[in-house]
Amino acid sequence: MRRLREVAIAGVGLTRFDVYDGEKGHASKEGYELGMEAILNALQDANMEWKHIQAAFCGTVYQNTGSGHQAIDQIGMTGIPIVNVENACSSGASAFRLAYQSIATELYDIVLAFGYEKMPRGFIRSTAWPLWQRQMGFNVQPANYAKETVRYMEETGATEEDFARVTVKNRKNGALNAYARFQKEVTLDEVLSSRMIAKPMRLLHCCPLADGGAAIILCSRNKLKSRSKVVTVAASVLNSGIYGSETGGTGSTGGGGSVRIHNDIVELSAREAWKMSGYGPEDIDVVEAYDTMAPGELWDIEKLGFCRKGEAPKLLREGALDINGRLPVNTDGGLMSRGHPLGATAAAQIIEIYKQLRGEEGPRQVSGNPKIGLAHSMGAGSNSVITILKR
């Protein structure tokens, strides 16, 4: 493969992830307004103007045609290419990867990646299942995670309490994040007595929905406005659907599965990310793992290679995954606190790593001068995206 140019992050922007329906004291905002706000915040952070942006990639899932165009139309139509990316819950990171590639291959110097979503309410609707499977009730996302969770419990001895601890940790971190939907801690008892959704998944094992936007401006090193604390992309990997994924719980269409062939999409993308970056799990100072459902964070940590299968619950119990632990995971509260605006989520994960590496996270800043961080997102289909940043 040809040699890739180094790509830096010039600036980032978020909106608060919240409910923007105009009810119960919430502001009323359209999805594209959230995208626009995130872009304006990123421009300010990068000390750049809109006219500097040469291309834009926008991740959304449930917005209308031309979602990126709608947001950008409010700022300026300069004739640059805008490409809308739908890769389910990993759309924002998939947009980031396209922006990264277009600079790394020297097609452009300054590119915007962003994502936003104004979420439909209730269970996330998916048309990825054939009609007959929807009629049979197979399209319940927590149920698909539940089946993967039952296997995980069977194979590792993990318990419901272990999963509840993920929620407790992440909600504790989220209480330090002014951009999270939920900024209030929860107790183990509250999680374990919350309503059952799909056994063994309870309400507080599931991330809440939210509306929001997230934007990242990437550039070649020579286009940066500031040379202090430069953060660059060490790896950007996307893998989609691989044959032999166990139950397909994190996103396939569920029609069946192989008994003989075992492949795991997260393990695959981890191998590729370690190879591309030249780093290994021992080099990583801060992690954004994929906690759309609480148990998922545990097996994510294991599949990414930070510990052996079944060991993540012990790390969590010992406090190793806390902000002041030896492997801080989801320091911004994860999906569990931020909430989950599908198109924005995976970009927000990358933003958290960026800000941690720059030492800008105030009360939730990881100590010890973190230099390398990893963000992992999953998406139905399935998709697995890993981004490794370094300072």
Binding site: G122, F123, I124, R125, P130, L131, W132, Q133, R134, Q135, M136, G137, F138, N139, V140, A143, A146, K147, E148, V150, R151, E154, R195, M196, I197, A198, K199, P200, M201, Y243, G244, T247, G254, G255, G256, G257, S258, V259, R260, I261
Partner: protein, 151 residues
């Protein structure tokens, strides 16, 4: 009155009902001649999505399997499902080497477990607007389990 309501499969081609009166239904799958992977439902376009071979044969799958994983859904799905809530669904592993996603029926929802022996049945899923009975495949605890569950 026309008697019993008309029965319509949730989708054609998922299972076969033998013509003999004591015949039992079987799910229809595909097997790849080249890599020997087995699929359910059968591959509609005749391509093995493991090795891309086009040499697929239609096979009838065993009626008996074991629960590989399952869940009990406590909340009504977003659309189209019109059966009872809560309901159980899961993956059943068949001896041919394929896991089938299926509803689990005729069981105490609290008694389901990984490894439980189950058997295929064709049952009502729901009634449509015209009063027709929409039927589908499900698995239920095998008769061989029932002696043990009480103890």
């Amino acid at each position: 009155m026309s008697g019993s309501p008309k029965q319509i499969p949730v989708k054609e081609g998922l299972w076969i009902v033998p013509s003999s009166p004591d015949g039992k239904p079987q799910l229809i799958g595909s097997r790849c001649h080249d890599c020997h992977e087995v699929f359910f439902p059968k591959k509609a376009y005749g391509i093995c999505n493991h090795c891309q071979s086009k040499k697929l044969e239609e096979i009838k799958l065993s009626r008996d399997g074991k629960i590989y994983s399952f869940t009990v859904v406590m909340q009504k799905p977003p659309e189209f499902y019109r059966g009872p809530v809560p309901y159980a669904e899961g993956f059943v592993e068949l001896p041919e080497g394929v896991r089938v996603q299926t509803l689990l029926t005729d069981c105490n929802l609290d008694d389901l477990s990984v490894g439980m022996n189950v058997e295929l049945v064709i049952e009502k899923l729901h009634e449509d607007e015209q009063g027709n009975e929409i039927v589908t495949f499900k698995f239920r605890p095998a008769t061989s389990n029932k002696g043990r569950s009480g103890g």
